[in-house]
Symmetry: C2
Subunit: 344 residues, 2 copies
C-alpha cells in the first residue's frame, strides 16, 4: 500500500468545453478508517468515465450535489477493500461505487450510495462496462420508460457509446428491430455487429432522411443520449404513441451554450407521443431484476461489451476528455494499477 493518496480535484468551475486545467493534482495522506465502527478503507483499481460526470461539475441543481471546487472529482470505480473488520466488506473483496479520482477512500455499508460487492466471476472491467450503471440505465430506460417489447422499432443514439451499445443489444435480445445512430464508420460497423439492423452515421449522412427510410412506420421507442438536432430528428419520426426515452443530453453537457431545443414538439401532439426523463438511481432497488435477465445473456456471450482502457493515474483528466470528443469505442475505463482480475 503506497503511503500517499493521489487525488485529482476540481480546480475551478469549468466554463464550456472541459480542459485539463479544470483539474488539479495533489497528494494527501491515506485516510485512517474507524475499523471498530465498520468503516473500511478502499483502494481504487479501475475508474469508469461517464458523460454524466460533466453534469456533476456544473454549479447547478442536479440529481446529485455538484462537485465543489477543491473537492475530489466524483467518478464510478471498482476498488479493493484493503483494511476492514466489517464482515460484509471483507479485506480483499472487490466493490463498485462512486469512489472518485483518488487512490484511497473510506466507506461504510450505510453510505447513501454504498459499496456493492462484485458478483463472483465478474471482473472490474466487466462490472464497469456491462453490469454497472451503464447497463442498468439501458435496461430500465428501455423496459420501464420505453415499454420495450418484441416487434417494436427502436432507435438508439450514441449507439456506439457505453449505454447505447447496451441499449442496442437489450432491445435486440428482447425481440425488437433496432436502428443505431453513431458518429463515424468504425462505430457504425461495431453497432451493426451488435445486432442493429442498420446504423446511421450522423456525421456523414442525413439523419432525418435516413430515419424516414429505415423507419417507414415511425419509431416506437427512441432511446436518446444526445439531445439537440438528433433529438429533433427522433421527434420528427416518432410513431403514433411512440416514446422518447430521455437518457442524456451529451450534446449539451460540454457546451457553454446548449444547442437549440427541438422546434417540432407539435409532432408529439399529432403522434400522441411522449418524451420522458429518468434516472437509473431510482431503479437501484430493482438491480436484481435486471441482472437476472442480463446475467445469462452475458454468461452465454449473447451480450457483448467493449471497453477502451487507458492506463495511469496521471492520464485521468485527459481520459474524461476522450468521451466528449467521441474517441472511445465502448465503455471508457482507466486502470490505476494492475489488480486481481476476479474476486477470490
Amino acid at each position: 500500500m503506497s503511503m500517499c493518496n493521489r487525488q485529482w480535484i476540481l480546480a475551478r468551475r469549468p466554463g464550456g468545453h472541459l480542459v485539463e486545467a479544470d483539474f488539479h493534482y495533489r497528494e494527501t495522506p491515506v485516510p485512517e478508517p474507524d475499523l471498530d465502527s465498520g468503516q473500511v478503507l478502499l483502494q481504487n483499481l479501475w475508474l469508469g468515465f461517464d458523460a454524466t460526470q460533466r453534469e456533476w461539475l456544473k454549479d447547478q441543481e442536479g440529481y446529485l450535489p455538484p462537485v465543489a471546487v477543491g473537492e475530489v472529482v466524483r467518478a464510478s470505480s471498482v476498488a479493493r477493500v484493503v483494511r476492514s473488520r466489517n464482515p460484509a466488506l471483507p479485506e480483499g473483496a472487490l466493490v463498485q461505487g462512486l469512489f472518485g479520482w483518488q487512490d484511497y477512500t473510506l466507506a461504510r455499508t450505510d453510505d447513501p450510495i454504498p459499496p456493492s460487492l462484485l458478483p463472483p466471476g465478474v471482473n472490474p472491467e466487466m462490472a464497469l462496462a456491462a453490469l454497472g450503471g451503464t447497463a442498468l440505465t439501458a435496461y430500465f430506460g428501455l423496459v420501464d420508460i420505453g415499454g420495450l417489447g418484441a416487434g417494436k422499432t427502436v432507435v438508439v443514439t450514441a449507439a456506439g457509446g457505453a449505454t447505447g451499445s447496451m441499449a442496442v443489444q437489450i432491445a435486440r435480445l428482447r425481440g425488437a428491430r433496432v436502428v443505431g445512430v453513431a458518429g463515424g464508420a468504425e462505430k457504425c460497423a461495431w453497432v451493426k455487429s451488435l445486432g442493429a439492423e442498420d446504423c446511421i452515421d450522423y456525421r456523414n449522412e442525413d439523419l432525418p432522411q435516413r430515419l424516414a427510410a429505415l423507419c417507414p412506420d415511425g419509431i416506437d421507442i427512441a432511446f436518446d443520449n444526445v439531445g439537440g438536432a438528433q433529438l429533433e430528428a427522433l421527434i420528427g419520426r416518432i410513431a403514433p404513441r411512440g416514446r422518447v426515452v430521455l437518457c442524456g443530453q451529451i450534446a449539451s453537457y460540454d457546451a457553454a451554450t446548449p444547442p437549440p431545443g427541438p422546434q417540432n414538439l407539435m409532432n408529439l401532439i399529432y403522434r400522441r407521443a411522449r418524451i420522458e426523463g429518468f434516472l437509473m438511481l431510482d431503479f437501484l432497488h430493482r438491480t436484481g431484476e435486471a441482472f437476472a435477465e442480463l446475467g445469462p445473456w452475458l454468461a452465454s456471450g449473447q451480450l457483448s461489451w467493449n471497453s477502451d482502457v487507458q492506463e495511469g493515474f496521471e492520464r485521468i483528466p485527459q481520459t474524461l476528455l476522450r468521451l466528449f470528443r467521441g474517441e472511445n469505442l465502448g465503455k471508457q475505463l482507466l486502470r490505476i494499477e494492475p489488480a486481481p482480475e476476479t474476486q477470490a
Copy 2:
C-alpha cells in the same frame, strides 16, 4: 332559406401571420341532399374558432388532412337540420360538427366525424363553449394524460382561453391547486374568478420567478397550450415525476418561424418528468364519461364559461385573427344569423 350558399374558402397557403387576404369569399348554389339515402341538409348558425384551425391551413401532415387551397375553411359549428327524412337527424334538430365557414352543407350519420345532436336544454353557445372539443380537450388532457387528482399543483397556460379556462375549473373542481398563466390584467382577473389561486400575467411579470414563488414544490401537472418560452418555464419548474400535458403550441401556429424549442429538457431527466401530447379525437368514444362529470357542474353553475360573440358572415376571417392577437376572452364564437337558442 336563402338561395345561395355563402362560403369562405382558403385563397392561398398562409405564410406567417394570418391575414384576411388568405381567405376568399364566394357564393355557390345550396347543395341538394340525397334524402333517400339518409343525407341531410344543414344550415350553420354558430361558428366556433379554435387555434388548431391555423394548423389545418398548413401544408403539413397533421391529425386531419390540410385544408386545400380553394376549399371551404374547416371549422367547428352548430347547425340546424333544415332538410331531412333521416329520423336520427330530424328537421329542426341542432347538431354540432365540423361544418366549416359556409351557410349550408350536407351530412350523414356515417360521416367520419358525424353530426352529433345537442343535448336537450343546451344551446349552441353553451355547446361550443362548454361541452365541445374545448371542454373534452381540457378534461381528457388533465385526467388521462396529466393524472389529475386532489392536492396536485396544476399550472395552466393560456388560462384565459377557451380550453385553458375549462382546464382551470376542472382541475379546481377535482380538488387541485391551480395557478393560471394569461396575458393581461383583465384575463388574469377572470382566471382568478374561476378559482385559480393566482394567475401570472406573462406580459408584465417574470414567469419563471413567479412560478418559483407560487410553486415552491414544483408543478405536478402543467397543461400547456402555448409552447415556446412558456413551455420552457414550465419544464424548468416541473416537480419530481411531474407531467407536461402538451395540448397545443399557439406560440408556433401563426409564426413563419417557430419560436426556439426548450433548451432545458435535461430537467426532465433530473425530475423524472414527462411531456406528452394528445388529441381529443382519440377520446371521442369516452365523451359520455366526461359529460357525466361536466354536466352536473354545468347545471349547478359550478362550471362557468365565457364567450366572445362576434356577428356576421362577413366578419368570419377577422374573427379568427382575434384568437392569435389574444383579443378574445373565453371561447371565440360568431353567430351567423339569429336562430332558436335551444332545441325544441
